[in-house]
Each structure stands twice: as structure tokens, then as C-alpha cells.
């Protein structure tokens, strides 16, 4: 199993990364950035499908809320109606998960490649020798230069800048796709999970080599760009200081506000697209 993983996934990514580094003037940090962009481009059709699927789910949100109100006391019926709604709209509710699952092995391979390629200890260098292709580009690149923009890519970033960037970019990306909840309890839950993920990644960044954190930051930024152009605009992410406060003519219930917000965001997005 380990051999299959190495031969089919890890070794091609690892050697590709090392060869790329040699092509980019021996700059491994640049190689990580370029490879991340390439990987995201290859996965673009999947990301596009995922984003479209998420967008379609968001469009169904008002109808969903109506159903939730209508069948609040009959969970079985609610499930049936929700499934019927998904079917009518041609959406597989788990459809947006597949791209995520497919990306997972690539993340792991990239992570392992960065770790192995940098060979922080003499032992790591010996292990690396077992994975290298006999290519001149690879031979000449070893051992890699781990310095990039003041970072040692094989070591955690002591300045915490990368941890903040990882957390921030992930938070923005999540905020763009997370609709506000209908009731305060759900809203609190949702805010907590939206905060937890970036915080956890930021925490892990303190432990992981900065090369991997660099990959996460670049990957998140690309994700934000894709989300911006495909879903149209910033979605559910608000810039409080940039927006004028909207005069409220009459008080609205939390449910009504939440039901209106997705369509507003989508309309704004459509305008920008237009």
C-alpha cells in the first residue's frame, strides 16, 4: 500500500517539485507557489463544480427555510421534502464534498513532498534518496536551498506571520461561503465553526514547516479568487467599514433578514458579473 502511494502519488509530486525548483533558479519557495497554482489549475474543473454546487445550494436557501418552518414538527417529512427539492433543482447535496475528498491525497502528497524535499536532517536526506528519479534536473537541485523571503522552509515560521496569514485567508474564504443562520443558536454555532477551522490551521502552522504554510496561504488566496469570480463577488463576506449602513424603514425578523441576504448577495454578484 505504501509502495503504491509512493510510486503513484508521492514520487511524481516530489520529483516534480524538485525539478521545478531547479528550473526556478533553485528557489524552492517559488517552486511551492508555482506547484500550488498548477495543482489548483488542474483541480479547477472540480473546484468550479464545487463552487457552482455551493452556489445552487445557497439559491435554495429561502425555499429550505420555508420548508423548515412548514415542517418544523415533522422531521421525517422535512427530510423527504428537502430531498425532493434537491432532486428538482438537480443538486446532489454531497456533490460539493467530492472535490474536497479528491484534493485530500494531493494535500498529503504535497505536504510529504515539501517535508522530504527539504531534508532538514541528514537522515531525511538519506530517505529522500529512495524517492528520486535519475533526472539531471533533480540531481543538480539536491540538496535544496531552504531559504525564502527570510524563512527557513523546513522549519516553522518563528515570526507567526505565516500563521496569521493562513488563519486570515482561510477565515475570509469560509466567510465568503457561509450563509448567516436563521436562529441565534445556529448563528452562534456557525460563527464558532467558521472561527475554529482557521484558528486550528493557524495553530498547526506554528508546528509545521513554513514551506507547507506557504502552500496553504497560496492555496487559500487562489481559493478566494476562484470563489470571487465563480460565485460572483464576496458572497457572504462583509467589509463592515466599506459599506454604508442601510437605513431600516421597519423592523425585520431575524428569519426574514437571513432569507433575504443570500439573494441580495447573489444579485450583487450578478451585477458585478454583468
Amino acid at each position: 500500500m505504501v509502495d503504491i502511494w509512493n510510486v503513484a502519488i508521492l514520487d511524481p509530486v516530489l520529483n516534480g517539485l524538485i525539478a521545478l525548483s531547479q528550473m526556478l533558479w533553485g528557489n524552492f519557495g517559488l517552486a511551492i507557489i508555482v506547484l500550488t497554482v498548477v495543482v489548483r489549475l488542474i483541480l479547477m474543473p472540480l473546484t468550479f463544480r464545487q463552487t457552482k454546487s455551493t452556489k445552487a445550494m445557497q439559491e435554495l436557501q429561502p425555499k429550505m427555510q420555508e420548508l423548515q418552518k412548514k415542517y418544523a414538527r415533522d422531521q421525517k417529512k422535512l427530510q423527504q421534502e428537502m430531498m425532493r427539492l434537491y432532486k428538482e433543482a438537480g443538486i446532489n447535496p454531497l456533490g460539493c464534498m467530492w472535490p474536497m475528498l479528491i484534493q485530500m491525497p494531493i494535500w498529503i502528497a504535497l505536504y510529504q513532498s515539501i517535508m522530504q524535499a527539504l531534508a532538514a536532517t541528514p537522515e531525511n536526506l538519506l530517505i529522500l534518496s529512495q524517492h528520486l528519479y535519475p533526472w539531471d534536473l533533480v540531481d543538480q537541485a539536491i540538496p535544496l536551498n531552504e531559504n525564502f523571503l527570510g524563512l527557513r522552509l523546513s522549519q516553522p515560521d518563528p515570526t507567526m506571520i505565516l500563521a496569521i496569514l493562513v488563519g486570515l485567508t482561510m477565515w475570509v474564504q469560509q466567510k465568503m461561503v457561509t450563509p448567516p443562520a436563521t436562529d441565534p443558536r445556529q448563528q452562534q454555532m456557525s460563527s464558532m465553526t467558521t472561527m475554529m477551522m482557521p484558528l486550528m490551521f493557524a495553530f498547526f502552522t506554528l508546528s509545521f514547516p513554513s514551506g507547507l504554510a506557504l502552500y496553504w496561504v497560496v492555496s487559500n488566496i487562489i481559493g478566494i479568487i476562484i470563489q470571487y469570480f465563480v460565485a460572483g463577488g464576496w458572497g457572504y463576506f462583509n467589509f463592515p467599514s466599506f459599506r454604508q449602513p442601510r437605513p431600516q424603514t421597519q423592523p425585520q425578523s431575524a428569519t426574514q433578514k437571513a432569507a433575504e441576504q443570500p439573494s441580495k448577495a447573489l444579485k450583487e454578484g450578478d451585477k458585478k458579473k454583468g
Binding site: 445550494m57 445557497q58 435554495l60 436557501q61 429550505m64 447535496p93 454531497l94 460539493c96 464534498m97 474536497m100 475528498l101 485530500m104 494535500w107 498529503i108 505536504y111 510529504q112 517535508m115 522530504q116 527539504l118 531534508a119 532538514a120 536532517t121 541528514p122 537522515e123 531525511n124 538519506l126 530517505i127 534518496s129 529512495q130 535519475p134 539531471d136 540531481d139 543538480q140 539536491i142 540538496p143 523546513s154 522549519q155 516553522p156 518563528p158 507567526m160 461561503v177 457561509t178 450563509p179 443562520a181 445556529q186 456557525s190 465553526t193 477551522m197 486550528m200 490551521f201 495553530f203 498547526f204 506554528l206 508546528s207 509545521f208 514547516p209
Partner: protein, 392 residues
């Protein structure tokens, strides 16, 4: 909708945890987030009836093979241990983190050097220790207390009897007074040095990971010449007559003229020549990570014979008048006929071995990754005794 997005988050989290798990980053897994730990792979240096080595726990240990063979408690008779104090990893996030510097590992890579009654050891933490060889008491430490360390020392220390010379991961070659430990000179190269230099006729030759080979005057520390080759220098250097020999990461064994660095010949193999080439008479014996031991004509680089083992040949073989003792990474010790590379016998210690075997008479000593020293009787073809360096 919310359920699905929460599900996605759970998947990401699980993936991350898997990532953490496979990387060995979890506390207590011992890997550290930066991969394999720096454990070291020192070989042995003889001093009277003792054999001395740097342990994976960061100690210098002197063993008496006779006492070990008799099963006496350690330390016995003339044996001793000196535990080197290592710096605590200074990372921002505690035990989970990788060391903040590559030099904060504990293990020792360099084989001790013995001159008269002093034993010298270079450490991965960037210090040189001079110990009394009969008692294991510190004579001096370089750099002095309060001064910054010199960068990880992986290659062996060499000497001309008066001064010590060694390369460091900070890319410098240092010269120290062997008696006092006083600084004499340093020479900055273009890249990291993880190998040992070699000394010949007052000139020090050293290679680095930038693909440079330098010739430096031992007396002054001034450059005599330097050359750039297409790949980084993987092995320590060896010298014989007019030529210097070393392996590179482009899978070649190079022979260059020691007068000016002109490449005389190179021999391409299937992987790196990581181990130091050993020269006996007119032949070079070179262990290669393509699982083979090569015997090559020193003058023109023509292959004489080759022997294939059961795993990568990482360590430098021990060469005696009639035999070659080579250990594969898988822990198999091979006794080969020096004339034609025929295998005479083999013994497996059952654990990974990166350190060089040391031969003394019929006995070969191996320090394996299970932290044990194995004494292999190559006539009776069995492990005579073993000793764990994990001393409680």
C-alpha cells in the same frame, strides 16, 4: 445546507488530523514535524583497549570490548560515559514543534578523533568537546561559554597533530588549536558542509552542498583554489597521490587533480556515493546507495568489480588487508574478498545501520538505529555481544 458545510469542515479536519498523524507530529511520536529526527551515526575510534563513539543520546561513550564480552555491568574497569548537555529546542509551540534550528538535535554524527590522551568530538549542536580519553573528563569546549555555536557538525574532525579542522552546517571550515581549543581561523564557503575535509601536505580539501570544492592552506586558512561542479558534494573527500576522490548528488564518483581541481575522471552509478571512498593500493572501494560496493581503479576510474547487497550502502566500509566489511542500510554485514568482491560471509543485526563499521582483528563493531552497538565475530559469524547506548 448547513449540515453539508459542517460535513465539509469535518472532512477537512479529519484530513488535517490524518496529515498530522502521518507526519509523526503528534506529541510522543518522536518524529517531530520536520520529519526524521537527527539521531546521529557515529562510528568508533580506538584508544588503548577502548573503543569510543558518540551516541544517539548525545553522549561520548568509551567501551571496553573485553568487559562487554564478559557481560560486566557498564561502566566497568576503564570504561566511561560523558553526557553532552544539549540545548532545548526553542520553538514557539512546545513539544509538538520541530526544533527551531536544525542544530538542536541530540545525536552525534561525527566519529571521535583521538590524539594522544585527548578525544575530540564534534556535535550536531555545533560544539567541539575535548575530553580526557582515559577518564572522559572535559578538557575544553569550543565555542567558549556564552558564545554562539558554530552550526551543526556532521562530518568528522581531522587533524595534523597540532590543529583540528572541521566543516560546519553554517558553511564554514574552522581551525582550532588541539591543545587549548583556541580559535585559529575560519573559512567561509558558499553553502552548508555536512562532510569531512581531508588534509594532505598542508592543504585542506573540502566540498560543500553548493557544488564547490576548496583547497585551503592549513596554516593560514587562505584559499589556494576552488572549483564548481554541476552537483553538490555528497561524501567526505579522500586523497591519494595526486588525486582527490568524492561522491556527488548526480550519482558520480569524481577524481580531481589536487593541484588545481581539474576533473580527471568520473564514474556514474545508480545512486549517490554518500560514503567516503576508501583507497587501498591502486584501488578505490566505494559504497553506493544503489546497494552496491564498487572497486574502481584509482588512476583511471575503470571498474574492477562490484558487489550487490540487500539494501542501500550508506556507510563507509572497513577495509583490511584481505577483506572488506560493508554494512547495508538493512543491517546486514558483508565480509568480502578484497581481490574480487566475492562474499565470504554475512551476518544480519536486524536493524537499520547508517554508521560506519569499525574492524579490529576478527571483530567488527556496528552502531545500529536501535541504539545498540553490535560486536560481530566475523570468523564464527555471529553477534558476540551487544550494548545499548540508552543508559538509564
Amino acid at each position: 445546507m448547513r449540515k453539508v458545510s459542517n460535513l465539509i469542515r469535518v472532512v477537512i479536519l479529519l484530513g488535517l488530523l490524518l496529515l498530522v498523524f502521518v507526519s509523526g507530529c503528534m506529541p510522543g511520536m518522536g518524529g517531530g514535524c520536520s520529519g526524521a529526527q537527527a539521531q546521529g551515526w557515529s562510528s568508533f575510534a580506538p584508544y588503548n583497549e577502548l573503543i569510543c563513539f558518540g551516541s544517539m543520546e548525545g553522549s561520548v561513550i568509551a567501551l571496553n570490548p573485553k568487559a562487554r564480552s564478559e557481560g560486566k555491568a557498564f561502566p566497568s574497569e576503564t570504561e566511561w560515559i560523558y553526557a553532552i548537555k544539549t540545548a532545548t529546542p526553542g520553538s514557539a509551540c512546545g513539544a509538538m514543534c520541530a526544533p527551531s534550528s536544525a542544530a538542536s538535535g541530540k545525536g552525534i554524527y561525527a566519529t571521535p578523533l583521538v590524539i594522544d590522551d585527548l578525544i575530540f568530538e564534534g556535535t550536531y549542536t555545533g560544539k567541539v568537546y575535548a575530553l580526557n580519553a582515559s577518564r572522559g573528563v572535559v578538557r575544553w569546549i569550543y565555542p567558549r561559554e556564552g558564545f554562539e555555536t558554530v552550526g551543526a557538525i556532521v562530518g568528522n574532525i581531522i587533524t595534523d597533530g597540532k590543529a583540528l579542522y572541521f566543516g560546519s552546517a553554517n558553511g564554514k571550515i574552522y581551525a582550532l588549536d588541539a591543545v587549548t581549543g583556541d580559535f585559529i581561523w575560519e573559512f567561509q564557503t558558499s553553502n552548508k558542509i555536512w562532510t569531512a575535509p581531508v588534509l594532505d601536505n598542508g592543504i585542506i580539501y573540502a566540498g560543500n552542498y553548493g557544488g564547490n570544492v576548496y583547497a585551503i592552506a592549513a596554516e593560514t586558512g587562505r584559499e589556494v583554489w576552488s572549483i564548481k561542479i554541476p552537483s553538490a558534494v555528497a561524501s567526505s573527500l579522500a586523497v591519494k597521490d595526486q588525486l582527490l576522490y568524492f561522491g556527488t548528488f548526480d550519482r558520480n564518483l569524481y577524481a580531481i587533480d589536487k593541484a588545481d581541481g581539474t576533473v580527471k575522471w568520473k564514474y556514474l552509478a545508480g545512486n549517490w556515493f554518500w560514503a567516503t571512498p576508501v583507497i587501498r593500493g591502486s584501488t578505490i572501494y566505494a559504497a553506493c546507495m544503489d546497494n552496491k560496493i564498487y572497486a574502481i581503479e584509482a588512476a583511471d576510474g575503470k571498474e574492477v568489480w562490484k558487489f550487490e547487497g540487500d539494501g542501500q550502502m550508506v556507510s563507509t566500509p572497513a577495509v583490511t588487508d584481505n577483506h572488506i566489511f560493508a554494512v547495508s542500510e538493512k543491517g546486514t554485514l558483508y565480509k568480502l574478498d578484497i581481490t574480487n568482491g566475492t562474499m565470504i560471509s554475512s551476518v544480519s543485526v536486524g536493524y537499520t545501520v547508517y554508521g560506519n563499521p569499525y574492524a579490529e582483528g576478527d571483530m567488527v563493531y556496528i552502531y545500529a538505529r536501535d541504539h545498540k552497538v553490535y560486536a560481530v565475530d566475523t570468523v564464527k559469524n555471529h553477534v558476540d555481544w551487544d550494548f545499548s547506548s540508552e543508559i538509564k
